[in-house]
Amino acid sequence: MPLVGSFAGASARAYGLGAGVALPGNFESIATTTLSSNQSTVTFSSIPQTYLHLQLRCSILGSVAAGNSAKMQFNGDTATNYSYHYLYGNGAIVASVSGTTQDSGYIEFTGNTTSPSANIMDILDYANTNKYKTVKGLEVFDMNGPTGYVSLNSFNWRSTAAITSIVVTAFSGTLNTNSIFALYGVKA
């Protein structure tokens, strides 16, 4: 299990890249979920197959003091078909971690109900049926006193299936009220 959850004390997290500039005319909103109550899971289903890439932009609030992690799974696949690499800093240390045969990719988010994380996850070539799927993420949060976290990361889903659904599930605790999950499609 990754990062944020293991953060208590000296910790860290990592990841980053992306967050580049899509051409404005090629960027379309697919669906958005704004939480009106604390929930453990957010789901995007029936994702249209008409784009080249997806971008999931999140502002996530939580209540696990040291920060939290959420699983990110595609097409309901909960088998050990994921792997990841992170580069991260927490204001004190810089570290890099990786994991193989994971049962999900991960999203890291704040343990605070007022200072949300910023997560920008690019899901590349998601509709392609000839190759595994790669996600790159930029994820940050800062809670002023307790901790901060910035990371560049990537995870891989070892399936050639087109991605038709995305499920984000809090590792522990919840995704809190007023969190926003917005899914966009990027056309070629």
Binding site: V21, R57, Y88, A92, V94, P116, M143
Partner: protein, 165 residues
């Protein structure tokens, strides 16, 4: 289909100011993205304030790579958000660029989180988390330079809005 990602305003500097301001920002988007390519008269690091708030209401955590070392640091209660750690302006070339994401900027319930990815091929690359501890909607952004420096003529700044469904 309605436009999702739209330019709000672009500035190409014809003078050399110490501050670049985007004001009267429309409240009709979900996120803002500020893209800029700039140079200065001295080696320095641009910083940001919002809504003209110069109080100790910000914080930041950064990850920086200089080419020889990776570092991470934090500032608690600063008067602004530095947008870089190793990537900063240089005085001779337009090597510096940055893409700053201001997430959920118009909501009036949560503090505002800013993600900055700065690059200078000569000095380094940075990722920054910045927070403005205020629940007010962001209506104004000031990009500034430390004293003794100015933004050089020819620097470009574009503010985009991203609208969720």
């Amino acid at each position: 289909m309605a436009k999702t990602y739209e330019p709000i305003s672009t500035q190409t500097l014809g003078t050399a100011p110490t501050t670049v301001t985007f004001s009267s920002i429309p409240q009709t988007y979900t996120d803002l993205v500020l893209v800029f390519n700039s140079k200065s008269t001295t080696l320095n690091y641009p910083f940001l304030t919002v809504n003209s708030d110069t109080g100790a209401n910000y914080s930041r955590t950064y990850l920086a790579g200089s080419g020889s070392a990776a570092t991470s640091g934090r500032q608690i209660n600063p008067l602004f958000i530095y947008l870089g750690g190793d990537a900063g302006h240089d005085a001779s070339n337009f090597n510096y660029n940055n893409i700053v994401h201001l997430m959920n900027y118009s909501n009036t319930t949560t503090y505002k989180t800013i993600l900055s990815r700065a690059n200078n091929a000569s000095t380094g690359v940075d990722l920054v988390a910045g927070v403005w501890r205020n629940t007010a909607a962001i209506t104004l952004i000031d990009l500034k330079i430390p004293s003794a420096g100015v933004f050089s003529i020819g620097s470009t700044f574009t503010l985009y809005g991203i609208k969720a469904a």
